[in-house]
């Protein structure tokens, strides 16, 4: 099967800055693909390369098997939902949504109908007569989505589309985006710096840092088997254990990742590894307690269910975890 989007050794340099550096990736058709990374990691530049706003310095890009480099944005059946929505302020909502059909020469009645259907799909029926300035952030976000989807793109690109929304609205939109993607079957490529968002929404995640993909896999793989220290640290929070420490546990002397929620306080169960330490600090997070423990000079974060009793600061404590949860990583970065 041809990939929806294929990058072969793609680089985009701005002067001496390697925004995207020899990236290979293949987005499968119908997939919800997330590009995750901190700002400046190259994820947005990758999205812009897919949209055609940037041209690669080197490498080869294909969209559904067709060469994309050198092709301007207006000849790609790829549409973008911009970070700050980029709605045309001088046009009504209906004209905004119908814009893509208008420039393609679709008759007025037909595009009007299609735009109204698209607005109904994003739950904004009857909003067509308003102006972008009269809508709230969440509503504008839906309009931007309708404006892109009305063109029936082969790939929908989303550039941090939920970044400007407040928490409740963001969670609601995550659900809606996911179900929309399922029902339409369109390939979604989603850029975000929010690891929670990427984990909960995506079929696969590419974790970016310094213009390179650090790891590409399903949310479970990326979370449970981080390949590098960067991934372990950026996706969720993790205890990165130094090689000497890991060697004392009887494993190969490499950096290892140990998730805070994999550790329990006190000695529990058989066959688990046990560490002795002292409590440095503790904080109540609602559903859980976070406890910082000093084990022979190494600080270890423990996420403990709120119901368990927590020793006081300065008290000795035993930590235990399953050997399988200790994940060894490549030496690199």
């Amino acid at each position: 099967m041809t990939a929806a989007v294929l990058f072969e050794n793609v680089s985009r340099h701005f002067g001496a800055v390697r925004a995207v550096d020899a990236v290979d990736l293949a987005v499968a058709e119908g997939e919800f693909f997330a590009m995750l990374g901190p700002s400046g990691s190259g994820k947005t530049t990758c999205l812009r390369l897919m949209a055609g706003f940037e041209q690669p310095t080197a490498g080869h890009i294909e969209i559904f098997g067709e060469t994309a480099e050198g092709v301007p944005p207006y000849r790609r059946s790829v549409n973008t939902v911009f970070q700050d929505y980029a709605l045309f302020p001088h046009l009504s909502i209906l004209d905004n949504v119908a814009y893509g059909l208008m420039v393609k020469g679709i008759a007025k009645e037909e595009r009007r109908k299609a735009a109204e259907d698209a607005l109904a799909m994003v739950k904004l029926p009857g909003y067509g007569v308003r102006r972008p300035g009269q809508l709230s952030g969440g509503q504008r976000q839906r309009v931007a989505l309708a404006r892109a989807l009305v063109n029936k793109p082969k790939v929908l690109l989303l550039d941090e589309p939920l970044g400007a929304l407040d928490l409740k609205l963001r969670e609601q939109m995550q659900e809606e985006l996911k179900s929309l993607q399922k029902s339409l079957g369109i390939t979604f490529v989603f850029v975000t710096h929010d690891q929670g968002e990427a984990l909960s929404m995506a079929d696969r995640i590419a974790v970016f840092n310094d213009g390179k993909i650090q790891q590409l896999g399903t949310p479970e793989e990326v979370y449970k088997q981080p390949r590098t220290r960067f991934v372990a640290d950026f996706v969720g929070s993790s205890n990165i254990l130094p090689p000497e420490f890991v060697a004392q546990l009887g494993a190969a002397p490499q950096f290892a990742s140990l998730r805070p929620e994999a550790i329990s306080l006190g000695q529990s169960g058989n066959g688990r590894l046990v560490l002795d330490g002292t409590v440095l600090s503790r904080s109540f997070l609602g559903a859980a307690n976070r406890v910082l423990v000093n084990v022979n000079g190494t600080r270890i974060n423990v996420m403990s269910p709120a119901a368990t009793s927590i020793p006081a600061e300065g008290d000795p404590v035993k930590l235990s975890f399953d050997r399988a949860d200790l994940h060894l990583m490549e030496a690199a970065s």
């Binding site: 055609g52 814009y99 420039v103």
Partner: protein, 317 residues
């Protein structure tokens, strides 16, 4: 007790006169606003609008042809005189010139403004501003006389055209009726060139400001949705730059309507509104007719703004 606890939560007044005035103005913002806006409002109200009204009033008086004295009775006779053939010609000539100057200024200014707003950075932006503003720093009269020399029959332009073996083209142009003449410096074409040159900064700067406010991602969005560069220009860039173009055209249009020096130095001897006003209030001593002439640009500008508003030029503001 710590040092912080010893301090009062609320400082007492500093006691000085300036301090008390500040406190008073802080408590009475209306007084502050009156002091701030009073002088400019007085200036605008009395000296500016007042004299404009006096001017309007003058246009409804008439002049006694025999004695040359002003007859202070309300009459429309002066306006009737304004619309006689000779005077009406002046009005039409001026409006046409202003319209063509405005149109050409906009066409020439847009690419320059677009470059400055979208591409010029750092050093190039400084060069752009200097290039646009520098002509404004030298005297208007000096520039016009310089143009007279450039456009004269013995001038550098004729020399250049001759060197390029294009003299036939210039001669063909000058032999055209109305816009032609003996040389460029005594033709409408010359007047037009100098008008466009002198008002150009007033067109470039507002368009540049408007284009600079158009977010780049709107251009990208249009392109992303399938808009070709021409379509993006027509449906996104132009509508959003229109307030700037209208602002610029208000300058070029009204400045051309009122100018009396450029057509006097460069052009044929046929009058423009500004020259007519100058002649009527000076040598002819016909203040009412001069006043009536000045009312024409005011009405035209009023109509122009109303039309621009109707066309939606200010919708994107």
């Amino acid at each position: 007790m710590s040092a912080i606890a010893q301090q009062h939560a609320i400082e007492t007044g500093r006691g000085s006169m300036a301090g008390r005035v500040s406190d008073f103005l802080w408590k009475h913002p209306h007084v502050f606003l009156t002091i701030l806006l009073g002088p400019p409002l007085l200036w605008l109200g009395i000296i500016y609008l007042g004299s404009l009204l006096a001017l309007l009033l003058q246009s409804f008086f008439s002049i006694d042809d025999y004695s040359g004295l002003i007859n202070y009775e309300f009459t429309l006779a002066t306006y009737r005189q304004l619309l006689n053939d000779a005077n009406f010609d002046i009005i039409i000539r001026t409006i046409l010139m202003a319209a063509i100057v405005t149109l050409f200024s906009a066409v020439i200014a847009f690419p320059i403004a677009y470059y400055a707003a979208r591409y010029a950075r750092g050093k190039w932006k400084v060069i752009f501003y200097l290039g646009v503003m520098l002509p404004l720093w030298s005297s208007y009269l000096v520039k016009i006389y310089a143009w007279k020399l450039i456009l004269a029959k013995e001038g550098i332009l004729t020399w250049l055209v001759t060197k390029l073996n294009l003299l036939w083209l210039l001669d063909a142009w000058l032999s055209l009726p109305v816009i032609g003449g003996n040389s460029l410096s005594v033709s409408y074409t010359g007047t037009f060139i100098v008008f466009v040159y002198v008002w150009m900064p007033f067109m470039i700067l507002p368009i540049q400001a408007a284009l600079e406010r158009v977010p780049t991602n709107l251009i990208e969005a249009s392109s992303d949705l399938g808009g070709t560069p021409q379509q993006t220009f027509r449906h996104v860039l132009f509508p959003l730059a229109l307030p700037g173009i209208v602002a610029g055209s208000i300058f070029t249009f009204s400045l051309t309507l009122g100018d009396y020096i450029i057509p006097q130095i460069i052009g044929s001897s046929r009058l423009f509104i500004g020259q007519a006003v100058y002649a009527q209030q000076g040598t002819a001593g016909n203040i009412p007719l001069a006043a009536a002439f000045t009312v024409v640009p005011i009405i035209i500008m009023g109509l122009y703004l109303w039309m621009a508003r109707r066309m939606g030029a200010f919708d994107a503001l």
